[in-house]
């Protein structure tokens, strides 16, 4: 018998727990030659801001041991472009589209949420308060519990779509931030964004990234991400989308057992463009092999 793979992220129903990590899967069509996007539980698209952004200077990507540093800097065509050019495509998809949003001020987050609220084809908003690659906003909101709560509340007030808040691992106490954000009305949490890191070119004696610092992702960060999901699960009762270094189903299952209701595949798509679907297939195989009828039974099953 096929196990149940459906999960709920707030009021959003996902046919299965696998989505993409924002910024690693474009807006969807980029990966269409390799995966049937409609087979995923959702896709989470590139971080979007009110105005278009050109992002950071190159190089924007450096490979590190079992990971990558990126400093894209939220390059994106802006909300209007998204609504005009991508929303029609989103509406044609059978899967959910989660739009990742970022701003420089609380007002910008709220305006953006309000602007996207009426747009059909967008199933939920993921609020990025954890981007390490922009000067203002971004991580600054994510490392201050009060500011995180304020952004959450402002977005909640501006939209009727489910609001997922994406947390930064670059904090002393991620559980404290999670509690504030949940208290402010978030419907779910994404855990984690990238770790702040950098790399140096020893020949040129200067930082390798154009932006000096960047965000670390990939298998290297998985232990930090699992720990973050574990702690957040103990702190709040809203669902968690776990991410950080998921390369294969085994990794995704670690997240689910730690407390994630859904998972996002990011950097792995660069190594293997079919990673998202292979993760999904592997989860299904594991459930069948272990006689588990419903994925939801597995969520947090490693917790005491």
């Amino acid at each position: 018998m096929k196990p149940n793979l459906q999960v709920h992220i707030g009021s959003m129903l996902m046919a299965n727990p696998v989505t993409t990590a924002s910024g690693t899967f474009g807006f969807g069509p980029e990966y269409a030659p390799y995966v049937n996007i409609d087979q995923l539980g959702a896709i989470t698209v590139k971080g979007t801001t009110l105005e278009p952004r050109e992002g950071n200077p190159t190089p924007r990507l450096v490979e590190t041991p079992a990971g990558i540093l990126n400093s894209i800097g939220l390059q994106n065509p802006g909300a209007d472009y998204l609504i005009e050019h991508y929303a029609p495509y989103f509406r044609e998809l059978k899967t959910n589209v989660i739009v990742n949003i970022a701003g420089n001020t609380v007002e910008e987050y709220a305006q953006l949420a309000a602007k996207l609220d009426p747009v059909q084809g967008i199933a939920a908003l993921e609020v990025n308060i954890s981007c390490p690659n922009v000067k203002k906003g971004g991580m600054a909101f994510g490392s201050d519990p009060a500011a995180a709560a304020e952004v959450t509340q402002a977005v909640k007030n501006a939209t009727s779509k489910p609001v997922i808040v994406k947390l930064s691992p670059n904090v002393s106490d991620i559980a404290a931030i999670a509690r504030e954000v949940a208290g402010a009305g978030a419907d779910a949490l994404s855990v984690i964004n990238t770790l702040l890191g950098m790399a140096i070119d020893i020949r040129q004696k200067k930082p390798l990234l154009g932006n000096i610092v960047g965000g670390l992702s990939g298998p290297a960060v998985k232990p930090v991400a699992i720990r973050a999901v574990w702690q957040v699960y103990q702190a709040v009762s809203i669902p968690i989308i776990g991410m950080g270094g998921i390369m294969a189903a085994e990794d995704a299952l670690e997240f689910i057992l730690a407390g994630a209701t859904a998972v996002a595949v990011g950097t792995a798509s660069f190594t293997n463009p079919r990673a998202t679907l292979e993760v999904l297939e592997g989860i299904e195989r594991y459930l069948m092999a272990n006689g588990i009828a419903d994925i939801n039974q597995l969520v947090g099953a490693a917790q005491p």
Binding site: T24, G55, R60, V62, I68, Q75, G218, S269, F270, P273
Partner: protein, 262 residues
């Protein structure tokens, strides 16, 4: 449409210092590829290195379903790739990117290659020769030992002008200088350039000065290779506005006059 597949290594050998030629069985990619496109290659079966490596499509034989790469060993990825043996499988994504714009059949064209930049230009010259173009290849290299593909270009009836830094073969100096002195731009319908950045920038300046069209193939560090991650931004000026384009999806080939060099 681009594919991801395991391609069997048919042959691999060293052709110049630190430079390897590799032939792969990949009919689905060979069939679709056009000159200037690239494949995104997994150089190992482990997670080290994690990222794929972009390598230009050096040659294809569509009847045989074969695709060839020509690459220089730079670091970990290319080192591991060079160690693959015939019979091994190499995971490829491709063909990717936007290739060269082909001229009218029979045109007179110039092709400028610097170092390993010759790699994609062999495939290009294959096509240009099929189109009965009159081709001159300006081939730059460090020294005689490092001159790449001169024989291949000649076999395709291209005229080949060689320049080496140390003068050990052909003209002494670099390709840009040579072209600056000797080119008759008015008689050249199109110029294609691939090589180190300063060389491409230099030739682009000559093209701009002569006000003739040309295309360059840009390199930038890549993540996805498919336009999804925005790692590979290159500054492109279009109608006076400078925006970031993606080397992997909007390029790697761009009109020389649109590139903002920095």
């Amino acid at each position: 449409m681009s594919k991801v597949l395991d391609a069997k290594v048919l042959a691999v050998y060293q052709v110049a210092p630190e430079t390897y030629y590799m032939e792969l069985e990949a009919p689905d990619i060979a069939r679709l590829a056009v000159p200037g496109q690239f494949v995104h290659v997994r150089c190992s079966e482990t997670q080290e290195p994690l990222l794929r490596r972009p390598l230009s499509i050096h040659m294809v034989s569509r009847p045989k379903g074969v695709l060839a790469l020509l690459f220089r060993v730079i670091g970990k990825g290319t080192e591991m790739l060079a160690q693959r043996q015939p019979g091994d499988l190499v995971n490829l994504m491709g063909p990717l990117g936007r290739g060269f714009t082909l001229p009218l059949p029979g045109s007179r064209v110039a092709v400028a290659a610097g170092g390993i930049g010759a790699a994609p230009l062999v495939f290009l010259v294959q096509e240009l020769a099929n189109m009965k173009c009159q081709i001159t290849v300006y081939l730059g290299a460090k020294d005689k030992k490092s001159v790449l593909c001169d024989g291949q270009f000649e076999q395709m009836d291209a005229e080949v002008v060689i320049a080496t830094d140390d003068g050990s073969l052909g003209w002494q100096g670099n390709v840009t200088d040579f072209m600056g002195r000797h080119m008759d731009w008015r008689r050249t319908a199109m110029t294609y350039v691939c090589g180190p950045k300063p060389m491409m920038q230099g030739v682009a300046a000559l093209l701009a000065e002569a006000d003739v069209p040309g295309e360059v193939s840009l390199e930038e560090h890549m993540g996805c290779g498919v336009g999804a991650c925005l790692s590979c931004a290159v500054k492109i000026s279009h109608h006076g506005k400078v925006t970031n384009k993606r080397a992997c999806a909007d390029g790697p080939v761009f009109p020389s006059w649109q590139v903002v060099w920095d």
